[in-house]
Symmetry: C2
Subunit: 368 residues, 2 copies
């Protein structure tokens, strides 16, 4: 940590200004050292009530008040690549008229981190023990995740009764997440010259029935802990053929199955294998289980009441699944429209930053 | 022409020995100058009754006897690349027990050229006028064809009532040829994140119905001038998709339609457009019309009688279609199994060379 790093962030300026400051520290995945240094400096200088552990560019900061229950709050420090959208600037949203902060990272997810960091400094006597986690390498391949690495290196720091991930959710609670599975479906045939096509068997033609089945299929909607999860089953890529005058003996298509968190990984595999029972081969290429929302817990119900809006299901896979895998119910809650994540014109409404701050503060100080 | 070229080929040694000599002059497409020189030397030295024209490495040699009718006989001089299969050698066919000449070019189509060249020298007083054509660049892209070039440069030399192409046909008559058409069929959709697939439209799924239609489709068998042509309609390549988490907005598949010579090129296009009427786009990529066998002509019937075997339909596209495009009925007739063309172990039965020589001689001397 350099001594100048402490000057980059000022937590007492409030979460809106802190959002601007966090965004303007460029922190594309793999380049999080500067921002992790700055956050660590804030904790050392302004939060003596927290016990801080650093693992690479991930920081874990805990209260140790001996409360009955503990809540973990986590956010990633990295962004997708910058594209002429830094430094951030103040704008009026062209669609909603809201005052917004515009630029890379505003939505995904520096505003969420700003709310967390401001509260980490402010809440010296929360009603529950708190574990704040800011981590690196979220926007890249799953195996690089700083959260996953820190969980493996320091499992003793991650015990909690409930977890909140600060991913953008328009300041509402998006519970759990769908799982995701990718499979490669293959049909085989027999090569022949296309002038004598009856000597062969056309693999591409054989795939037609399965693709037509997908075309008319209506994926399920499944209610889990009160939230409705909408599934999806889609071919996302296809490739086959040998040459312009050869009957193809091979075609493969990749399928992405987004499945409700009530299904286990094994059940998702069985579902896909049964759907494509007519295929010659179904290879599971990638698999990440979903996460139940866990909103039946009284602790979570207090949070729902503090936010004051009806929770909805999170459809995309997020790191809540990493908490779920540790047995910790987890939800997404943060300012910003998730549909603008990664967009070059991402922008976060100032009122959502302030409202998220208030809801979290109310709940974390009132929970008993 | 070099003076030594005349020593490479000896037409009076008969077509079997001449096959060996022709094969052993390496003549992969683009490298036909040496063999064209050798053939030209034979004509100058042994066939003063023929009028010879050279166009690049193509030779046209005509009788000018004032006969009522004229037959064209053509063969290409080039081969596909050599693969440790020259010089040729004498073998016994492992499957049939026949005495064969083994090596590159034996089937496709030096044996056919040998029969033609031997007869060109021998038949000083044929019953019909004859046009002998030996040409370059058959085994490569159609636009390089020496036959096509010579037809454009010297149309006055190509008039004929019937044409015989010496392509391998096991010494039987394979009449005409199917046409071939390639089309690119495209389906479109709308991109969306695969976690929210209902926001998009899956182009790959939309292709399913058309591929399934191909899978259950039975192509037609069509009788033309007494020969049955079997059609084929096949997807030969498919490609689509954006990324593993994106609903694809585009898929294209290439279709090869092999169509009977009773259909014109325009009819073949209409057939494909109607079959794929459900597609968003059908682009015709490549098209070559077929050729009717023309076996209803009395001249052709005399040839059928001389060969003594029932003619069959040629399925693959060959240069007979170039004669057909000039209004000249054309058939394939040559020694060698067409299924061995381009095979590294191509080999021609000696008895087929001799039988082809006899049939052609009988007919060309007896036709009135």
């Amino acid at each position: 940590m350099t001594s100048s790093a402490s000057n980059l962030l000022n937590p007492v300026a409030g979460p809106v200004e802190l959002t601007r400051q966090l965004c303007n520290i460029a922190s594309v995945s793999g380049d999080e050292r500067g921002i992790a240094d700055a956050v660590e400096a804030v904790l050392r200088d302004h939060a003596p009530h927290l016990t801080v552990t650093r693992d690479g560019d991930t920081l874990i900061a805990r209260t140790e008040l001996g409360r009955d229950r503990r809540v973990a709050l986590a956010g990633h420090l990295d962004t997708v690549p910058i594209n002429e959208n830094l430094p951030v600037r103040n704008e009026t949203d062209p669609e909603t008229g809201d005052a917004v902060i515009w630029g890379r990272g505003t939505v995904d997810m520096k505003a969420g981190v700003a709310v967390q960091l401001a509260l980490a400094v402010e809440l010296t006597q929360p009603a529950v023990d708190l574990t704040w986690i800011w981590y690196d390498h979220e926007e890249v391949a799953s195996e690089l995740s700083g959260l996953g690495r820190a969980m493996r290196n320091h499992p003793e720091l991650f015990g909690a009764d409930f977890a909140i991930l600060g991913e953008p959710s328009n300041g509402t609670i998006e519970g759990g997440c769908n799982g995701t599975l990718r499979a490669r479906v293959t049909m085989r045939g027999k090569r022949a010259h296309s002038a004598r096509s009856w000597m062969g068997e056309n693999a591409i033609h054989r795939a037609g029935a399965l693709l037509a089945k997908l075309d008319v299929f209506t994926p399920e909607r499944i209610t889990v802990d009160g939230l409705e999860y909408r599934e999806g089953l889609n071919a996302v890529r296809i490739e086959g053929g040998v040459a312009g005058n050869v009957i193809p003996d091979h075609v493969s298509f990749d399928v992405n199955y987004r499945f409700a968190p009530s299904r286990s990984a094994e059940e998702a595999i069985a579902y896909v294998r049964e759907f494509f029972a007519g295929a010659d081969e179904v290879e599971i290429v990638d698999l990440a289980a979903g996460a139940r929302p866990g909103l039946d817990d009284p602790l979570a119900q207090g949070f729902v009441a503090a936010v004051g809006e009806t929770p909805t299901a999170k459809l995309g896979w997020t790191d809540v699944a990493r908490f779920s895998a540790l047995g910790i119910p987890a939800v997404n809650f943060g300012p910003g429209n998730p549909l603008l994540a990664h967009a070059d014109d991402e922008r976060v409404p100032i009122r959502q930053i302030e409202a998220s701050m208030r809801s979290l503060r109310d709940w974390l100080t009132a929970t008993s």
